[in-house]
Symmetry: C2
Subunit: 271 residues, 2 copies
């Protein structure tokens, strides 16, 4: 089969090669100084955010491969497969990045799972693996749509995007931890391509079968309250007195805007 | 789960990042001139070799993901998973590389499948997908051993290595097609890490269960005659008067040496 380089997933495949980055090359020396100067409460919020990202990136790295297999089986989408190999490699690099940050900045064992609330476990350890592993026995377009709505739209498009905003408000706006901020910016740049692929795939699926638009909406609407609950749960741990002055309403609204933005993009394909 | 950077797959994961290459950056202008100056017979042999590689890289890119899933399910091998994401990305890049060569040097549609003999189809379209797809329902160490013996040992370790030697003897030794030769060198460099991972994994499996050594040997010994037959079939198309003076005995012996080299490396782990 020959490659069509004009398809959006191939444009982003080439972009992935151009924008490649290595987590080991980012300096963390200022981060070490900033970390030492933080209050225990501030340290704990950053530990929490980094733990949720570390475990989240590990979960998505583990669970993406079935989509590659389903797309392989559903027909002639070599370009989609090629794009997804860049996404898999990038998810592994994101795990590496957060792992390195714990190694070189925190420098002590952390019980990361202690930071996970019920909503987090529901999304990352139930809904994500269930909807992706289903693709191994059912590569129907309906199963693909539900998996991509979960992975690319809710986890990458809503939760991860809102998490980056947390790093921006807590660290970047205060000129703290430039290494972590730089790494997050690279992670976000990679994930922007992943989300674009998810939207492209969902648009293709609804164009071919309009009934899938309901399937996608149902999936998104059933997961949005869990995602919002996950964000509220983080703030509830601090009785809404979050270090760095982070405000729960701002973050829930930010998540809602990300959600609407994704939904509208897919809806445009329904016409 | 935290990453152990000292494990061989992580060393090669990091090496994969350092040695990354982009198929689009290799100049093919001298290749275009060399191609135009070749006799039709010479062109056909190069077309044949490149077609076998193009379709072979596509087949391995398609079929690797189940190994990632089996390793994920068989336990705590995050480092193996991370290495395999580099391999998947590299297999996609190899497809891109051969595809670009057809686009920019051959510049006309080629019926690549016309070059495939029975042995090629047996290995790439029967044994490869069968042994890899089995991992989706059976991630036993036996199934893993048979899949890796097929993919990493026979296809990458014997057939691809012998194929590179064909490009060296036909082109590099005559200072022809420097672009193709450069790309092949990069492909071979990537595949060397893949083969090393295959040997590492098989060694780990036989150390844990010596009975798997017989499984691996049986698999390799049943596929070696097919692989040798594939090479002989190529020469038979030219009634053993191969352009560029390529000699069937040299290539069959070369394949046998590659085979013995891999088998000995795994055998050392049996102790």
């Amino acid at each position: 089969m020959r490659i069509c380089h004009q398809l959006p997933p191939m444009l982003d495949y080439h972009k992935a090669k151009e924008l490649i980055w290595d987590p080991r090359t980012i300096s963390l020396s200022q981060d070490q100084r900033d970390w030492a100067a933080m209050t225990p409460d501030q340290q704990e919020v950053i530990l929490l955010l980094c733990s949720l990202f570390h475990m989240g990136e590990e979960a998505v790295a583990h669970d993406l491969a079935p989509l590659l297999i389903a797309i392989r089986r559903s027909g002639a989408y070599l370009e989609d497969e090629m794009f997804l190999t860049t996404q898999l490699f990038e998810e592994a690099k994101h795990v590496e990045w957060f792992d390195r940050w714990f190694d070189e900045v925190v420098k002590r064992p952390i019980e990361m799972s202690s930071f996970l609330g019920e909503e987090y476990k529901t999304i990352f350890y139930e809904e994500l693996p269930k909807s992706l592993n289903r693709l191994l026995t059912d590569h129907s377009t309906r199963a693909q749509a539900e998996a991509v709505a979960t992975y690319h739209m809710i986890i990458e498009g809503v939760l991860a995007e809102t998490g980056y905003h947390g790093f921006v408000r807590a660290l970047k706006d205060r000129n703290l931890m430039p290494g972590l901020v730089t790494g997050i910016r690279y992670v976000q740049q990679d994930e922007a391509r992943h989300i674009a692929f998810g939207i492209y795939l969902l648009q293709r699926l609804v164009r071919a079968d309009r009934a899938l638009w309901d399937v996608i909406q149902n999936r998104l609407n059933s997961l949005l309250p869990v995602a919002t609950g996950l964000i509220q749960d983080i703030f509830a741990r601090y009785e809404n007195q979050m270090p760095f002055g982070l405000d729960v309403t701002e973050f829930v609204n930010y998540a809602a805007r990300q959600f609407n933005f994704r939904v509208n993009a897919i809806e445009r394909a329904v016409g």
